[in-house]
Amino acid sequence: MLKRQYLPVVVTVSLFVMMFALGSFRYTGFLSTQVFLNLLIDNAFLLIVAVGMTFVIISGGIDLSVGSVIALTTMVSATLIQNGWSPAVVIPLVLIMGASFGWVMGAIIHYFKIQPFIVTLAGMFLARGLCSVINIYTITIDNAFYVRMAQTKVGLPGNNVISISVLIAVSVVLIGIYLAHYTRFGRNTYAIGGNEQSALLMGLPVARTKILVYAFSGLCSALAGVVFTFYMLSGYGLHAMGMELDAIAAVVIGGTLLTGGVGYVAGTVFGVLIQGVIQTIISFEGTLSTWWTKIVIGLLLFLFIVLQRLLSTRRSMNH
């Protein structure tokens, strides 16, 4: 007997399977483990960011700054690395920077009661702007460590390879799942998203949890930025433009309610995979341009949002 609350996630997973099957039928060479793994390789950073975004949306908020924080991370990393700093210092530094950025936004959102949308929008402006203040051009990275990270292929049975980024992404996903289901922080996040007023009256640490959620998102963005730096081997202010929208789409398509309180990190994983599969299908097709991706994702987004709305209206009508 399937629990009703898992319905949106089930839909997501089925959708992914259907799409992958569609691709396999239509194109030779599609149905292979490597094609599947490539989904992870190409979208590792999106996956990391989306995990952070999942927590924010579950808590009832939203974070528009993630793409910009990624860009800022690449910029700061590139500048420091090329100036001779060691990766062992730079990487922890940018992670702390990302987390602090999120922390400040969370504090402003909670204590001054300003809508998360506007605060994180300002955050987005700020981060992008800081990028350009540092340098308006691309900074290429030729540091040995980074290059090694970019090129290392981890072998898997059956002649398949994945990159280090995938390992990092998968770890983040597992940590995310653990946090969400086995820690008080995670459960409090769900509670706040369900009914913040009740959570307060039930004695839960609302302020602390809300701020931590945004700090976590900032941390994920920074980590995704590090992974992105491996991928692109450069720092540039225009990196990851619009990635916040991709992250939000992944989370929603993954079955998380934008109103908060309901959602699964595992669902977000499939949300990211679906975006990847759409892009893969389109590139296999060859004739369609990549802008079809945006339309299909927009359409999926619409269907999922309406589905969410119908489910919630039916639920409230039963009482």
Binding site: I62, I108, Y111, F112, K113, I114, Q115, F117, I118, V119, L121, A122, G123, M124, F125, L126, R128, G129, L130, C131, S132, V133, I136, G237, L245, I248, A249, L258, T259, S289, W291, W292, T293, K294, I295, V296, I297, G298, L299, L301, F302, I305, V306, R309, T313
Partner: protein
């Protein structure tokens, strides 16, 4: 006078203009060349018209406690559609062709606005989320229309929309003025403005008072779509081409900023069209100022970030309370002590 809602925006605008003047004394100079007026001030108006238009539409949506994130995409779609139609014609400068192109694009923009309005008022989806869909999909749709290409035109008639001269000023300024006047008349001379402010101020009470909240919301989203459509025409006309990816990029954020600076609260209720106009001019002047001072244009983003934050903090009651408590405790501490011992 200090309390007048236009006081602070106007002050900021004058301060910026003054700064520009001090930095570059011929800032205010206007020359006439080839029957056109030229000068920095004209430039600000000229480049600012699309933003002003989009911001006007956004004002009414925000007044109903809503928001429209899709305006940039709608701009791209409408501009692309117009260019497509014109590019298919043999004589691209034929007036009737251009008029058909304009007509179709604007109808399309209205339909997109209607789409947003239906999602918000009939299906009941939160405005941020509802308009997010079109924001994501819209660029794809624009590309679909353009078949993935950047359409370039050589139509003098179409170019007129954005840069043609009427009374020596760019035609787009007159379009914007017309929209501003129509919007003002619609909202102030009819009861529409009152209904919008009522629905945004207290939707429950408005419905109990007999206002058709649903119809009001549909109307404002359609108007917002229309404004974005017109802005898209102007932008593509200025460059005589349509780039589905970049046209109108990040316009929604600037528009929201303009509305907020202009005095309309993000929580809905009272709205100020003239305030938005000044807000948009401030943003445009800011861009010009930064460009002139020689700082990289991307720095505008940092400044915008702080402006948004400061305006929102001022609008936030919690902030005002904390601030006034701190202020009061500094001044009146001794006074309070006296009271307690009395």
């Amino acid at each position: 006078m200090l309390k007048h809602h236009l006081f602070w925006p106007l002050t900021v605008l004058f301060a910026l203009l003054l700064f520009n003047f001090l930095y570059s004394p011929d800032f205010f100079s206007i020359q006439i060349r080839d029957g056109h007026l030229y000068g920095s001030l004209i430039d600000i108006l000229y480049y600012g018209t699309p933003l002003i238009l989009v911001s006007l539409g956004m004002t009414l949506v925000i007044a109903t406690k809503g928001i429209d994130l899709s305006v940039g995409s709608v701009m791209a779609i409408s501009g692309t559609m117009a260019c497509l139609i014109i590019s298919k014609g043999d004589n691209q400068s034929l007036l009737s062709l251009v008029l058909i192109a304009v007509g179709v694009s604007l109808v399309l923009a209205l339909i997109l606005g209607l789409w947003n309005g239906l999602l918000v008022s009939v299906i009941g989806i939160q405005p941020i989320i509802a308009t997010l869909i079109l924001m994501v999909a819209g660029r794809g749709i624009a590309q679909l229309i353009a078949d993935g290409q950047i359409i370039t035109l050589s139509s003098t008639t179409y170019k007129y929309i954005g840069s043609g001269a009427l009374l020596m000023l760019p035609f787009s300024i007159f379009i914007t003025l017309a929209v501003l006047i129509i919007a003002s008349m619609l909202t102030r001379k009819t009861a529409l403005g009152l209904f919008i402010e009522s629905v945004g101020g207290n939707p429950t009470a408005s419905r109990l008072a007999g206002i058709r909240a649903r119809a009001v919301m549909l109307a404002v989203y359609m108007f917002c779509g229309l404004c974005a459509g017109i802005a898209g025409l102007i932008v593509t006309s200025n460059v005589s081409s349509a780039d589905g990816n970049n046209a109108g990029l990040w316009y929604e954020l600037d528009a929201i900023l303009a509305v907020v600076i202009g005095g309309t609260s993000l929580n809905g209720g009272r709205f100020y069209l003239t305030g938005t106009l000044i807000g948009a001019l401030i943003i445009q002047t800011l861009t010009t100022t930064i460009y002139m001072v020689g700082v990289s244009p991307e720095t505008t983003l940092v400044v915008k970030a702080f402006v948004v934050l400061i305006v929102c903090l001022i609008q936030s009651e919690s902030f005002r309370k904390t601030f006034s408590q701190l202020w009061a405790s500094r001044k009146y501490r001794t006074g309070e002590e006296v009271k307690r011992h009395a």
